[in-house]
């Protein structure tokens, strides 16, 4: 129902280039998640697609039609604002039903739909409240409710779950996934939550400074990041980077150890990337490198152990929750070579095997 595509779209505020010649094609019914550091232009991009922000260069197509200059109303998308933007003078019920009322649905249907959505969003008992009488998370849910009741062809979600507790967030995430399945609507979803990005996305788009750094399926991004930035950005806790250079037996880890890895291609590897969960703590003798435990963070399911490994710096190792290592203890770190990535001096990925 709605394909969305941007062709060299750009956005400037005065001299400030916020979005730079951005190309993006979104298929009908696709679920695209946009991630990127704070201030990289995600909200701006959504607002451009929505028609709320003028596209200062390039073009925007919806269903093949050039809508660069069209008004938001004509684009028929729904949006959840990062700042909610609820109507302060309307109750939750009227906030949510407003779009339907404009679409001239009969009152009965509006009531039914709003109540169904409120049910899903656990807002039923709040329907007669005004936004200022709600908690932060409740407001955010109203903002979601307002978008979903309308069942439009495309959704734009700007960090829609950021103020919800973990349990609710999981519920809502499942609801959104369900919505996507049942409506078959195209969805563009901005989030900072790795789990949301990983579980919801057909495709993840990683942005930085108004540019797309890489896009692809969650697996692809996680397993074969195209560059250092993506590698570090995707996955939490983030990937460890170990400075390295080609050595006698495979790769030399800044003199702190070495690892057997054959490199195909011309570029010389400069960084070895290894995710905490692909590292394990072993006895000092048996690891690829060693160091002393500096911090150990208990996370319930597991423990993050930060090991100071000389020139390699602080390395985060994901250990079992009941890990016996103590602060100050010397440990060895074993690297799962098959799952680590290599990057050249400029940060581009090198195919390793």
């Amino acid at each position: 129902m709605a394909t969305i595509s941007l062709k060299k779209a750009g956005k400037q505020y005065g001299n400030l280039e916020i979005i730079r010649e951005l190309d993006l094609d979104i298929a009908d019914g696709e679920f695209v998640v946009i991630v990127g550091p704070s201030g990289c232009g995600k909200s701006t991009l959504l607002r451009m697609i929505a028609g709320l922000e003028e596209t200062t260069s390039g073009q925007l197509f919806i269903d093949g039609r050039d809508v660069t200059a069209a008004s938001p109303v004509e684009r028929k998308l729904a949006m959840v604002f990062q700042s909610y933007a609820l109507y302060p003078h309307m109750t939750v019920r009227r906030n949510m039903g407003f779009g339907l009322k404009l679409a001239k649905l009969p009152t009965g249907r509006i009531k039914a739909k709003v109540e169904a959505a409120a049910e899903t969003l656990k807002l039923t008992h709040l329907l007669e409240r005004y936004p200022k009488e709600l908690s932060g998370g409740q407001r955010q849910r109203v903002a979601i409710g307002r978008a979903i009741v309308r069942e439009p062809v495309g959704f734009l979600f700007d960090e829609p779950l950021s103020n919800l507790d973990a349990a609710l967030r999981v519920d809502m995430r499942l609801e959104i996934a369900k919505l996507h399945r049942t409506l078959g609507a195209t969805m563009i979803y901005v989030t900072h939550d790795q789990v949301e990005a990983m579980t919801l996305a057909d495709r993840i788009v990683v942005m930085k400074d108004g540019r797309i750094m890489q896009q692809g399926s969650p697996q692809a991004l996680y397993q074969t990041p195209a560059n250092l930035f993506v590698a570090q950005f995707i996955g939490s806790p983030k990937m460890n980077l170990l400075a390295c250079q080609p050595g006698a037996s495979g790769l030399d880890l800044s003199g702190e150890g070495s690892i057997q890895l054959r490199v195909s291609g011309a570029a010389a590897p400069a960084h070895l990337g290894a995710r905490p969960e692909h590292l394990s703590l072993v006895s000092p003798e048996s690891g690829h490198c060693r160091g002393t435990v500096e911090v150990s963070e208990y996370l319930g399911g597991n423990t993050s152990v930060f090991v100071r490994a000389g020139k390699l710096g602080l390395i985060n190792v994901s250990a079992p929750a009941d890990t016996p290592y103590r602060i100050g203890e010397t440990v060895g770190i074993s690297i799962d070579a098959a799952r680590s990535s290599l990057f050249d001096e400029a940060g581009a990925a090198i195919a390793a095997n």
Binding site: S83, A85, G99, L102, Y130, R146
Partner: protein, 295 residues
Amino acid sequence: MTKASQRPLVQEFRLLATPVVLFLLVFLGFPAIVNLIYSVSDVSFETLRQPELSGFKNFAAVWSDSAFWQASWFSFRFGLLTAALECTLGLFLAIFLSPLIERRSWLMAILMLPLMVAPALVGLMYRLVLHEFVGPVPYYLWTYFGASLSFLGPGSAFWTLVVVETLQWTPFALLLFYMAYQAIPSEIAEASAMDGAKSHHRLWYIELPLMLPTIVVALLIRFIDGFRVFDNVYVLTGSGPGGSTASLSIYIYEAFFKQGAIGKAVAASVILFVVSFAVLYGLNFIASRRKGAAR
């Protein structure tokens, strides 16, 4: 804001409200007391310093004076009509023209011009403007239609005054509304656009409700101003043939100066003050009750 945090802070708020209270006490306290005495006294310009108490005679005199009721009715009608007209027009212009004005504030200056001339002088100018022999309006009407209306004749004087007042004071409403319109957060307008609101929907469901407090204020102020109209009406029609266009202000002014009935004039003012205070208090009360119910 919630009642909450205030309790410990009432003291500080009191302090903030003190200057205005003191100021009024100093500058209106003495006159108000004198006036209250006058209102229950037999007093004239010769006996300003020795008013003779006469009970509520003045109030009775005002109450039974048909001219008082005629003036009240005129003021009420005039205030209501002009307030409604000015606010409607002002609202329309503020919203419809805001895209133009946003970029060129001098357009606002042009629309504000009518306010810049003292109402008394505007009244004077209208004596010229509407004059059958030297006024441009009748002149053009004679030239192009061969006849002119009698703008200040007994039947039309009221409406002419309404138009004159409306033309002069619409800019007042316009400026207030423009300010309120501009203050609407753009995000809320954006949200409504995403909800599929066309501009008329936005106007009706979002902008007008958000401007409602200002609309109420403008209506109130314009009603009060229309109600107490003085200068231009006085200059233009005197108090009208037979007092037919005497507003309450003119009634009080004339009682005060022309008839020297100071006690009566003050008594009329006291009645006016008490009644309008009661009305405002009541409105406030209803409004806050409503809010309370919404909780």
